[in-house]
């Protein structure tokens, strides 16, 4: 049972990554994802690497501390590539990681860069065979004349080894840059989406995928909208949504037709004409869409706000939360320094009562839907003593700045939190700053 976000006190638990102020580009975290039990936490970075952390078995003698996450496996998922036909580099940056529900001893995840999705198997090995008849321990073959007896090799314990191996490579299906992957509730299929198309794959089949959405106009000059994110419904395997750069979400039912170009539902809020500016279109572009665990709601993130939609109501969201309204008057500067193009993600807590998203200056926000409370916290090395309680932060939009408040002009726009994740069953959150991963948990009394 999660206590409401507003009431809760959050404490620092751990931080992963280099302390260096000089950030190596390859170390920039580009995605964060808990698996379905929360035991594993995966990160992907710009260098194409995946690092998986595992929560240790709970320490029963110290119940006030939840277990720590330690490195479980690290592997290079994607390498830089070159498309010779188009004379283009393909970045190795991991755009998304999605875990498959666990079916056996091994863990599986999908990781994707701009063009290629890979299915990785992560398995443990803690035994090895010992006592071969024909081979020495080091692998050399014995002199046959020296073998006088027969024995059966036995499995003996060894130090735990975690191996990651690529089981499937799903390539050559996307002309544009992949922004999303989403595993279906049938656990057999998944979708991948780029700027103009959504493809449906079977996890076992790599040489074929079905195109289920195609919004590419015949004449590219008429292009007005691109796909920005897509996700399968958590329970209805025939339903998925995709969001667009125009702030529109379309819900599609795959039973209606093979090509879901015609939506079943269209979610759009009419624009407030008083907010119109040069940048209205950019800030209405949706950067992330996430279904609630219940499947009844979905959440979208645009540049300035988070919106909760009831799937039964298309004409407006049921809740809207302003993440950093103080930036509305700074849009021109944010356009010049490119920040207006930043794609923030958002996430739900386990029981859908609280939502979380990131902001600038290493701030992140939580909105408690039931208690109608919200809080802004900071991920920083200064507040990283063990179990240190995070103090709420406040930004002063203008005028007189109170003590402990920070003014808008002092915000560090290079310190952005784009990726956050919430443990599916517990109040543990993972927050990625540029190159560090912070783990916070709620204070257990």
């Amino acid at each position: 049972d999660a206590a409401p976000g507003g009431d809760m006190q959050w404490c620092f638990s751990q931080v992963k990554g280099a302390i260096d102020d000089d950030v190596a580009e390859a170390d920039i975290i580009s995605t964060v994802e808990f698996n379905h039990t929360g035991e594993l936490l995966a990160t992907g970075d710009k260098g194409g690497r995946v690092v998986i952390f595992q929560q240790e078995i709970e320490n029963k003698s110290l119940p006030q501390f939840r277990s720590e996450y330690n490195v479980y496996s690290t592997f290079q998922s994607h390498e830089p590539e070159f498309d010779y036909l188009k004379s283009l580099e393909i970045e190795e940056k991991i755009n998304k990681i999605r875990w498959l529900p666990q079916k056996n001893a091994a863990q599986f995840l999908l990781s994707t860069n701009d063009k290629t999705i890979k299915l990785w198997k992560i398995s443990e090995r803690d035994k090895r065979p010992d006592g071969y008849n024909l081979k020495e321990d080091d692998g050399r073959y014995k002199d046959p004349n020296s073998i006088t007896s027969l024995r059966v090799p036995v499995l003996i314990p060894m130090d735990l080894m975690v191996e990651a191996s690529p089981r499937r490579v799903f390539a050559n299906a996307h002309t544009y840059h992949i922004n999303s992957v989403s595993v279906n509730s049938d656990h057999e299929t998944y979708l991948s989406a780029d700027d103009l198309r959504v493809n449906l794959w079977h996890l076992e089949i790599t040489d074929r995928s079905f195109n289920i959405v195609d919004i590419k106009p015949t004449n590219m000059e008429e292009l007005t909208e691109v796909i920005t994110a897509a996700e399968f419904h958590p329970h209805q395997c025939n339903t998925f949504v995709y969001s667009s750069s125009k702030g529109i979400i379309r819900l599609c039912d795959m039973r209606e037709s093979a090509l879901c170009d015609r939506h079943t539902k269209l979610f759009e809020e009419p624009e407030d004409p008083s907010n119109r500016s040069f940048f209205s279109e950019i800030i209405s572009s949706i950067s992330d869409v996430k279904f609630s665990h219940s499947g009844r709601y979905m959440m979208t993130r645009d540049y300035l706000s988070v919106k909760i939609w009831d799937l039964n109501m298309e004409n407006r969201p049921v809740e809207t939360y302003q993440v950093h309204e103080y930036l509305r008057s700074k849009l021109c500067s944010l356009y010049e320094n490119d920040c207006i193009f930043d794609k923030f993600e958002c996430c739900w807590n386990g029981n859908d009562s609280v939502v979380m998203t990131g902001s600038y200056n290493n701030f992140f926000r939580m909105f408690d839907r039931s208690q109608r409370r919200d809080v802004m916290l900071e991920a920083s090395r200064e507040n990283s003593k063990p179990m240190q309680v995070l103090k709420p932060r406040k930004v002063c939009a203008g005028g007189k700045r109170k003590k402990d408040e920070i003014s808008v002009d002092s915000l560090d726009f290079n310190k952005k939190i784009l990726h956050t994740a919430w443990h599916p069953q517990d109040n543990i959150i993972a927050v990625a700053t540029t190159n560090n991963l912070y783990i916070f948990q709620d204070k257990v009394n």
Binding site: I90, H177, Y335
Partner: protein, 173 residues
């Protein structure tokens, strides 16, 4: 008039972003290019409509320079944020040139280069992949993120001459 200046500045910033994004690792991003072209369209429309409302009253500034209306696709586009001051105002014909220009930037890959370019060109001739070092330098933060200097409205004038039409930005894909 305020809006006009703002529109022009945003247009200049947008064009420089568009050029900068052409040499970005990973290739042109469709989403970003679309958003840029939308901002440019809004800025251009605002600029046009404010010019139109000016016509009956305002006089053309005397310091206008004659525009070079030659549009040669092979000519190097000049992205010059540090361009010395040229005309004080855009020639009335320039905004028309935005629409009429038949220069196709898709063919201009080989020759387009920002004035202060220090990077390899991305033409087909230079197919040598330079991603091989494990930590490859990308655009310096300063190169993409420079705030449009005050004089950039004027610097932008040179850009309009070059082969850029809003309608042709997207088909570059």
């Amino acid at each position: 008039m305020e809006v006009n200046v703002e529109a022009r500045r945003i247009l200049a910033v947008s064009i420089s972003k568009l050029y900068a994004s052409r040499s970005q690792r990973g290739g042109l991003r469709l989403h970003r290019s679309l958003l840029l072209s939308m901002v440019m369209r809004s800025a251009r429309d605002i600029y046009h409509s404010s010019r139109e409302s000016e016509q009956p009253n305002g006089e053309q500034p005397a310091t206008e320079e004659p525009m070079d209306t030659n549009c040669d696709p092979k000519e190097k586009a000049r992205l010059a944020p540090d361009l010395a001051d040229t005309s004080a105002d855009m020639a009335p014909g320039v905004s028309d040139k935005l629409d009429e220009s038949d220069c196709d930037i898709t063919e201009d890959k080989e020759n387009l280069s920002p004035a202060k370019q220090s990077r390899k060109r991305r033409g087909k001739a230079s197919a040598a992949p330079d991603f091989l070092p494990s930590k490859r330098a990308r655009l310096e933060p300063g190169e993409e993120r420079y705030a449009a200097p005050v004089g950039s409205c004027r610097a932008g004038v040179g850009d309009y001459r070059s082969a850029l039409t809003l309608n042709q930005v997207i088909p570059a894909f």
